[in-house]
């Protein structure tokens, strides 16, 4: 059995290359949207390691996103740490919290699991919202500095760009690394065990899988990448706010994942791009974006439950016969 051709294409690299010229399209706005997509797609893809790969429905993914964002922002803004260690620390902190919270969550199943993830996220939100001395309370932490990007000046082409364009490249490169890692993890024996748990946890036990332990590991890895995404987002957003942890923020990556298709590794990324582009289009016509999003979501749930990627592959298979 050989791997199908489509799996051997280095998609991460291709997408990375395709996204390289964005700052040269000439509009500050394109770079802004592209950065938004790149960062939030990582958030959604990190969620899908739990949702699509392990079969765990979480309502509290914003907790790890915000922990990463606050950690990095605090280190950079208040303690003057350089960017890269702060970013990694954001991911590690999110992983640490995911390990502690996840320890309790994976002992529950289904709706109780989801509720406990929500409860932990609300705890994180309450702390961000009220612990004025550290998190800035309701006001959050505005003016998170950009990383020092002076070293980029020696680079050809990129050296003369605006700082937001340079940050786009930083985000793109780091997110691409994260994607490469997530892809490897998904296709690894560990990832295979996660899919086994998704399909049938009871049977998984009886091929020798310690289900809770694997779920906890997935929870932690997923939390770490959510944290890395949040850390980038805080800088991109020029500030971190308690909203990052509110439960409606946890719904965002869920919607992106469903929109793109949770059965595919690239589904959440496609969903994130579609959602953000749609948002940009709609908000130029009307302020009632949530209304449109709700409508889109309902159509999706009823008509295209496989999401964009799921629907396309189904179409492709129908056109190209069974082996396409």
């Amino acid at each position: 059995m050989t791997r199908p051709l489509i799996n051997r294409i280095p998609w991460t690299l291709i997408v990375f290359l395709v996204l390289l010229p964005v700052p040269f399209l000439g509009s500050r706005f394109y770079t802004f949207v592209a950065t938004d997509i790149v960062i939030l797609s990582l958030f959604a893809t990190s969620l899908n390691l739990l949702l699509g790969t392990t079969g765990l429905v979480t309502f509290g993914h914003a907790a790890y996103f915000s922990i990463g964002a606050y950690t990095t922002a605090l280190l950079m803004k208040n303690l003057g740490f350089p960017f890269l260690p702060s970013w990694i620390a954001g991911g590690l902190m999110a992983a640490g919290f995911a390990l502690v919270f996840g320890f309790f969550c994976v002992r529950l199943t289904k709706i109780y699991f989801a509720m406990l993830t929500l409860a932990f996220a609300q705890i994180v939100w309450a702390i961000c919202f009220k612990w004025n001395d550290v998190t800035g309370g309701e006001q959050g932490l505005p003016n998170v500095p950009y990383p020092g990007l002076d070293w980029m000046e020696v680079l050809p082409l990129i050296g003369d760009l605006r700082v937001s364009d340079k940050f786009y490249y930083v985000a793109l490169a780091l997110v691409a690394l994260c994607y490469a890692a997530l892809r490897r993890i998904t296709l690894s024996p560990f990832g295979r065990v996660l899919t086994v748990i998704r399909d049938n946890p009871e049977r998984a036990q009886f091929i020798g899988v310690n289900v809770r332990l694997y779920e906890l590991a997935a929870f932690m890895v997923s939390g770490a990448f959510a944290g890395l995404s949040g850390a980038l987002f805080g800088i991109f957003n020029r500030g971190v706010f308690p909203d990052f942890a509110f439960w409606t923020k946890s719904a965002e990556p869920l919607i992106m994942t469903i929109l793109g298709g949770m059965a595919h590794f690239w589904g959440p990324a496609v969903g994130a791009a579609a959602l953000i582009l749609l948002n940009q289009q709609i908000t130029s016509y009307t302020e009632y974006w949530p209304f449109v999003l709700g409508g889109v979501l309902i159509v999706l749930l009823f008509v295209f439950p496989g999401g964009i990627v799921g629907t396309l592959t189904k179409l492709g298979r129908r056109i190209g016969g069974r082996d396409a």
């Binding site: 429905v57 406990l116 009220k130 719904a251 869920l254 009632y288 749930l301």
Partner: protein
């Protein structure tokens, strides 16, 4: 700290608890029978408040017409809930839980904007009905009549529900549905009707809660997503699907919030979320609930 002050805090917590009970009991009923966690329940609550405001404008503010408006709003929400269940939600029962949850979340998004489009984003308020405008001095605490009414209404509704659930044939069917879905059809009940009915009753309670809360707080966008988390916490503490559990959960929530402010002024929202987490860890099915099979 003076006893009368503490008593005042207690009554404040009790009032909040009874409002929460109204809302959370609807959420819990719907979960108990349909096994759907309805995120839009908070939106129904908010729309109940807006509808009550609208009806009060029509029947005349500061009149006893308030009662009619409140009842009308609750019934309006019940109808809305019935339509949602019949036309849409019903088609998702066979699907994964996630799809049902995201569907109710889509409703949150849509209904939130519908309210904004219809009533704007400003604060709206409704005055108390004339018959309950006064207040009374209870052990040194000034208690508005209206709050007293709410404190009494909660247990009344709880008792009515208890009676219906325990003593009537409708209640028997509902209890059967909550315990065993397959048994339901063998009882000869029309399962579809039971589901629609329960969804309407639950929505009615959300609408009623929203309508009755209007004289005590202003109506603002965002009250939907704030209340739904509180209602979740209440039903989790008491036990998902457990009726008296919801009552107990609301009482606990109200008092923790009310006294939590005295002990950790800034962290009372933290305290209730932490309570929810602890309950889920120690006793996932809640204080009075039973483990789900």
């Amino acid at each position: 700290m003076e006893p009368s002050f503490l008593f005042g805090q207690f009554l404040g917590g009790l009032t909040a608890a009874m409002f929460l009970f109204l809302i959370a009991s609807g959420l819990s009923l719907i979960f108990g029978v349909l096994r759907v966690l309805n995120f839009a329940h908070g939106s129904f609550y908010m729309l109940g408040a807006y509808l009550a405001f609208q009806f009060v404008q029509w029947v005349g503010p500061r009149t006893e017409g308030f009662w009619l408006a409140a009842l009308g709003a609750a019934c309006g929400i019940a109808v809305l809930g019935g339509l949602v269940e019949r036309l849409l939600l019903r088609h998702l029962y066979g699907r994964e839980e996630l799809y049902q949850l995201l569907f109710t979340y889509a409703l949150v998004l849509i209904l939130g904007d519908v309210a904004k489009i219809t009533w704007g984003t400003g604060q709206l308020s409704v005055s108390r009905p004339p018959s309950l405008e006064g207040s009374l001095n209870l052990l040194g605490v000034i208690v508005p009549h209206y709050n007293l009414f709410i404190i009494l209404l909660g247990p009344t509704i709880a008792l009515i529900f208890w009676f219906v659930l325990q003593r009537t044939s409708v209640g028997r069917i509902v209890r059967a549905a909550a315990q065993d879905r397959e048994m339901l059809s063998s009882l000869g009940a029309n399962v579809g009707m039971v589901y629609t009915g329960m969804f309407m009753v639950g929505s009615f309670l959300a609408g009623l809660g929203g309508a009755l809360v209007t004289p005590t707080q202003s109506i603002v966008p965002g009250m939907d997503v704030a209340i739904i988390v509180e209602a979740f916490i209440v039903v989790v503490i008491g036990g998902l699907g457990s009726f008296w559990g919801t009552f107990l959960g609301a009482l606990i929530f109200g008092q923790v919030l009310s006294f939590g402010i005295l002990i950790f002024p800034r962290f009372s929202i933290f305290a209730v979320s932490a309570l929810m987490a602890v309950i889920l860890i120690v006793r996932p099915w809640g204080l009075l609930g039973r483990p789900l099979r």
